[in-house]
Structures are given as C-alpha cells and as structure tokens.
C-alpha cells in the first residue's frame, strides 16, 4: 500500500524557511504539549503561564535563567563547532570538567593579582585544558581513525572519575584542607570571583557576555576565514578536501581543540562566576555537556543562535524546577521538554524536504 504522502527533496531552500519552520515547530510543540497537559488533567494555559513567569518574566527569574544558561551556551558552542565539520564531539561534559579543574587551580594559586587579570588567566587556563583534552580525541581520530563519538564519551567518564578522585579520594590541591571528615572542594580566592553586572537590576554574568563574544568569533571564523572555508569543504566531502590539498588531519585536531576550548571556558565560567570551586558531584548532576548537544541541535549549529537557544533552555530548565512538585511529576516536565526537541527535529526535515501528495502523482501538487 502506498502512503498518501511522500517527502521530496527541495531543490532550493528558501531563506525564510530558516526562521519560519523553527517558529512553526515551536507552536506545534506548544500545541502537542497542551494536549498532553490537558489529558493529564492540567490547565495548559496555567502551566505555560507559569513556565513564562518562572523562566523569563521578571528580573530575578531572568537573572537566574542567565546563570543556568551560561554553561549551556558554552557547551552548545562546543557541540556546534565540532558538529559543523561532522565531528560528533559528545565530550563537552568532560572537557567542561577539565576546564573547571584548570581554572580552579589558577583561582586558588594566584591570590594577589587584579580580578581582571585573574578572569583572563582562568579563562585561558580553562580553554587550554578543555581544548587539549578534546585535542586528544581529535588526534586519535586524525591519526588512527578512531570513532570520536566513543572516545569523547569515554573521556567524559574519565574526567568525572578524575575530579571525584581529586576531591573525595585524595588530599589533593583541589580539596579543602580543613574539611577533614567531610571532604569538600577548595574554594578559589575572593579576588578570583568573576563579576556579575547589575543592569536594570538584572544580574548579567560576565561569562554570558564572553559566550556572546565567542558566538560571534566562531561565526566569523567559520564564515569569513580560509580555515572556516576548509572546514566547510571537509564537512561536505573529506575526499574532495584532500584532493584540493586541504590538510584534513590537522583541521580535525584544530576543530576538536576549538570545540573543547569552548566547553573548557564553560567550566572556568562555572567556577569563576557561580560555583567558586570544582564540584564533581554538582557538575555531574547538572549534565551541562549533554544538554549542550541539544542546544546546538536546536540552534541548527549556528554559533550565535546557540547562545540564545541556551538562554531559552536555561529558562525552560528553571521553569521545569519550578513546576515539578507533588502535583506535577518530573516526568511530565521531561515530556514537555522532549516535545520541543522532537518538534524542532521534525521541522528540520521540512526545511530539507517538502511534503507531496501521492494521490495524483502526475500533477505533483505541493501539500
């Protein structure tokens, strides 16, 4: 039996689809979510109103969303940078941990330098450490053709075990020396705490500004430089790239390094701007690295869009915590978040394909 509808590849993709389809996807997600809420006996309008109130509206909740969004912006950038070249780096989680590790070391060690310099040092340390950690994955892929999905994922676990060891299983530099019976992480010096600017009473973390800047820098690199052009060629056809004389191996390592540097900067930001110490358990529970993949996917791998999608996810995340409780199971929150992702991904197909009716094949009418 033939299906009444079929997908046909679009010969050209009108530019307006790039924003029309995501918008339709979002509306579709809201409608699907409303049905689920209605079936489970909730008033969809009340729930959506609360999501808006607790995720975005108001100075306090918006400040909170910025806090939740900042690490996601960096892990989103991490995923976008690598995925654009077809490198599936799912190691943002571990690369963020390594960034946190390096930045914490800087924050504890240098206690007598101005805050501005401290921020730069911590950021550079986080980026380098995260970048190097991801670079290992890139090197393995470039030299030995190992699957970067598996290696980057495995290295997430390695990083988690390392951080846990440093705080809970050893008397390392990262463990608070006075926390004898209650192993706890050592805080960075007060000088090392990053600024949060108050703008119209909204707390704007300096790290979020960095994320916006990084979004633009990466957009520039990918759109306006020779390196970015080469990355694009490799993404389209590695073979063609090699024929054209592009050094694919070193590009793989560089892109992985850049990707990891973004996550590493996220780790530095988490320590400097918010947490003040390297917190293995808190980081593991937050899962910024994995959510970053979703952020990049929703942003359609656009680095600038990633930062703002992160804000949306941060707000939704906070609204989710606000919703869940005795009369609102956490599974339902997950269902709503899943529907948004599902719709976004479904919309992606509509950008690439058009839906055609199969009933009168000779006429080929667009549905």
């Amino acid at each position: 039996m033939r299906s009444p509808l079929r997908l046909e590849r679009r010969l050209e993709q009108p530019k307006r689809l790039n924003w029309v389809i995501p918008l339709i996807s979002l509306v579709a997600a809201l409608i699907l979510g409303a049905i689920v809420l209605w079936v489970t006996g909730k008033n969809p309008f009340e729930v959506y109103q609360r999501i808006f109130e607790r995720g975005f509206a108001g100075r306090r909740v918006f400040s909170d969303s910025l806090v939740s969004a900042t690490p996601l912006a960096f892990t989103g950038l991490c995923a976008a940078v690598a995925f654009r070249m077809g490198l599936i780096n799912v190691g943002g989680e571990g690369q963020l941990y390594m960034g946190s590790l390096a930045a914490t070391w800087v924050g504890i060690t240098f206690d007598n330098i101005p805050t501005g310099l401290m921020i730069v040092l911590m950021a550079v340390a986080g980026m380098s450490c995260g970048g190097l950690y991801a670079g290992i994955v890139g090197l393995l892929r470039a030299r030995f053709g190992t699957n970067e999905i598996i290696t980057s994922l495995m290295m997430n676990y390695l990083a988690a075990i390392l951080l846990t060891y440093l705080v809970y299983n050893s008397f390392s530099y990262w463990r608070d020396p006075v926390s004898g019976n209650f192993p706890s992480p050592r805080a960075i010096t007060q000088r090392a705490e990053w600024n949060t600017f108050a703008i119209f009473e909204i707390g704007l973390p300096i790290a979020f500004l960095m994320a916006i800047a990084m979004g633009f820098i990466i957009w520039f690199i990918y759109k306006r430089t020779r390196f970015g052009f080469e990355v694009g060629v490799i993404a389209d056809s590695p073979k063609a790239a090699r024929y054209a004389g592009i050094r694919t191996s070193s590009t793989i390592v560089l892109v992985m390094g850049l990707s990891g540097a973004m996550a590493g900067l996220g780790g530095a930001a988490d320590v400097g701007n918010f947490r003040r110490y390297m917190d293995p358990k808190g980081l593991e529970l937050s899962g910024y690295g994995y959510t970053g993949i979703v952020v990049a996917a929703l942003a359609r791998l656009n680095p600038i869009a990633s930062v703002f999608v992160a804000l949306l996810m941060g707000g939704l995340n906070n609204a989710g915590y606000s919703l869940r409780g005795p009369d609102f199971p956490s599974g339902l929150v997950g269902t709503l978040q899943g529907l948004i992702l599902f719709s976004a991904v479904a919309g992606e197909i509509l950008i690439k394909y058009r839906v055609k009716s199969n009933s009168r094949p000779s006429e080929a009418v667009a549905a």
Partner: protein, 418 residues
C-alpha cells in the same frame, strides 16, 4: 546552512545515545532461591521489632545558644517567626534524588506525606526532586520562597552551603537541614543515631555469614558514614568474633549502576553477605537477590520486595522530628539548633526482620536494641582497636558525642581505607 543539514541524522543518534547512557537501566534479573547459612535455623517468617519508642524527640534537640562553639554553638538563637499572617503554613522539601529511589529520598518524601497527613489543612507541603547541588539548589530555594514557602527542608549534604547562603538572605525563613553541621540563627541541623541501628543490622549480617567474610557498599568516607561502617562491623563481630567486612566507597550517595558494580565486585571477592551504608538505592539488594546472598539494606524496610534475601536495615522516620518542629513554627516558638534522634524517640528504627534471621539472632538483637535506646552510641565502648592496630578506646571507655561526629578511623576487621 545547507551543509549542516546532512549532519542531523548522526546527531540525533548521538543525542539518543547520550540520553540512553545518562539514564540508568535497571533490569530485574530472575532470582534464585537462597539458602542462608546461619548459626541456627532461619525463622522462616518476617517479624517486626517489639520495641515501642516512647521518647520525646525534643529531648534530643538543643538550641544553638546552648551549644559550645566547636559544636556549632552561636551567641544567640532567637525565636524566628516564620508562620504566615494568615492561611496555611507552607513548607517545602528539596531532594537530590528522585522520590522513587527506593531509599533515602523516598523515605524523606514519606516523612513529608506523614507531616501533611498529621497537620491536614494547617500546613501545605511541596517538594522539588532531582535538584543538582550548586547554583541550581540556590535558585530552587529562592523559587520556593517566592512561592510563599517559609520553612525549607534540605535533605542532601551537598546543599549545605546554598542553605547557609539563602538563610543569610532570608532571615525570616526557617531552614531545616538534614545531615549537615553548619549553624546559623535560622538554620537547624537534624539527624540521628543511625550508627545504633547500623550496629544492630550488622549483628543480623554477621549471624547470616558462614564464612565470616562480609561486604559493605558505602558512599563517602564522611564521619557520618564511617560511623555506620564501624558500627556495622562491630555488630557483625558480636555474632561472629572473627568477622571481617570488606568496604567499598563509591563516592556517590545515589548511583544505582555504581552501587551494583561495587556489590558485584564484593561478591567476586568471596563475601557471603552483602550490606550497604550511605548509598540510597536497593541495587545492592538486586545483586544479592540474583545470587541468593543474604542482604542487609539501608534507609527503608524492603522486606516485602526482597523476601528471599532480606535481613533487616536501618530505617529513618524523619517525621518524628519534623512534626514537633513544625508545631513549634505554628506556635511561634521555633528556634534553630541541633537535633540528634535516637531509637528511643523513634527517629531511627530497624526494618522488619527477614525470614533468614533466626530466633536466636532475633532475640540477641532485640535485647541489644533496648540497651542502645537507653544509651545511644554505647556500641563504641572500649576496647576498640582500629584496623592499623592502634588502640582507639581503652577498656570501658566510650566516645563522646563530639568524637562520634568526627570519627575518622576504621575499626579492626574492616578491610578498606579512608
């Protein structure tokens, strides 16, 4: 934009993989029938302890101003009026795990429901589950306060710094924190003598072992947990003087996959009884059930779900403390301080005794239970030697409360290190 599209299929796959790996699967394997080696015959039926707690929980509560500085004491701990002008008192619980974890968080939520049932319309309770430690915890507290909650209960050690921070910003909100140690004029700490019930649980485990080699899955080498590990071992040695306990610290409060791995590793080392301390899921019990090995649980009575292997467990009733404290809020007499509950007031208790526990062991545990209810912590009475061979307590000497709270050694017979 065009070239990015084709990467979507692998990306989706990746997202699916990531989500799949983050979630932990828990398949319930078939269980084999078990034969419990025991010094005398298993009773063959599940029994409850005959002990009825009669103590007043508030006898075990001390205001901060009455405590010395090294125990968290403060110059003053004034009455905090956190009851609303009108309408029901709103109280909220913040959990690190899911409410159906089969252990720690579930027991906390059962206490919340008991509180709700006790007060009816006078109090409105709510909770937030799966809250990550760090900035999210602080935001969750702020969100709950914005919702009108004026009593906040924290149930994971990792929330402590956020509680202290939030308490300073909201001096008119009452904060109640479980298992921490930091004090503030509006932050109380509450916990209890789980080491006493851990000791009794260890007795059941020791009696169930034929080889005298026991295994214990544990969380962190925090004093609270170390106390439990030591008490459990001392209990096992009461029934079996040569008993040794292999302990593995998994560095997590709740990680069913890691708990399972640790339990399997202990089995591979040849232990014939499994126990757990400080870890929240019943994964250790799953491993015990699959292998027909007696199991002593933690947090919650699981005799109904694991009847073939169940021994007993430390169980908490957090509402024993929470109900009188919330009554104080309603009465306008709440002050912050430290609470350390006992068997006598019913804060800690033993789960049901499993069918594997013999009459003889049952009687021995019950007798010891009554003693411990009157003298909490008395299982730590010398002579006690640590597992490095150093004498810790001379004959007849017991630990002080402060020593119990800062315990940092493992008793002889524990195979493991801090």
């Amino acid at each position: 934009m065009k070239r990015t599209n084709k990467k979507f299929a692998p990306m989706l796959l990746t997202v699916a993989i990531a989500i799949g790996l983050v979630a932990c699967g828990d398949d319930d394997g078939g269980s084999s029938s078990s034969e419990a080696p025991s010094t005398d015959a298993p009773a063959g039926e599940v029994r409850s302890s005959a002990y009825v707690p009669t103590g007043d929980p508030m006898d075990y509560f001390t205001a901060w101003e009455e405590l010395p500085a090294e125990a968290g004491g403060l110059d003053s701990s004034p009455v905090i009026d956190c009851a609303p002008e009108e309408g029901p008192l709103k109280a909220a619980w913040i959990y690190v795990g899911p409410i159906n974890d089969g252990g720690w968080t579930q027991v906390h939520d059962e206490a919340r429901m008991a509180v709700q049932e006790h007060f009816g319309d006078a109090i409105e309770t709510t909770y937030k589950e799966l809250v990550p430690e760090g900035p999210q915890a602080l935001q969750t507290i702020e969100d709950l306060i914005a919702d009108g909650n004026t009593v906040i209960f924290g149930t994971s050690f990792g929330f402590q710094d956020q509680f202290i921070e939030a308490a300073a910003a909201h001096p008119d909100v009452c904060f109640e924190f479980a298992t921490g140690y930091k004090s503030a004029p509006n932050v109380s700490q509450f916990y209890g003598a789980a080491e006493d019930t851990d000791f009794l649980t260890g007795m059941a485990a020791g009696a169930a072992s034929a080889t005298g080699k026991l295994g214990l899955v544990s969380s962190f080498s925090f004093a609270e947990v170390v106390r439990g590990v030591n008490a459990w071992t001392l209990g096992a040695q009461v029934m079996n003087p040569d008993a040794t306990v292999k302990v593995l610290f998994i560095q997590s409060w709740f990680d069913p996959a890691e708990e399972r791995k640790a339990a399997e590793a202990l089995l591979a080392e040849g232990v014939d009884v499994l126990g757990q301390k400080g870890v929240d899921s019943p994964s250790t019990g799953d491993v015990a059930k699959e292998n027909g090995i007696p199991w002593a649980g933690y947090n919650k009575d699981q005799s109904a779900n694991y009847p073939e292997v169940w021994l007993t467990a430390t169980a908490y009733d957090w509402s024993v403390y929470q109900i009188p404290r919330l009554q104080q809020v309603l009465d306008g007499t709440w002050v912050a301080g430290n609470y350390y509950g006992t068997l006598k007031d019913g804060f800690v208790k033993l789960g049901k005794y499993g069918a594997l526990v013999s009459e003889q062991t049952f009687a021995a545990i019950e007798a010891r239970l009554v003693e411990l209810a009157e003298a909490p912590g008395s299982e730590f009475t010398g002579p006690i030697v640590d597992n490095q061979g150093n004498e810790v307590l001379a004959d007849g000497v017991s630990h002080t409360y402060a020593e119990l709270m800062s315990m940092a050694y493992l008793v002889a017979g524990v195979e493991g290190e801090l």
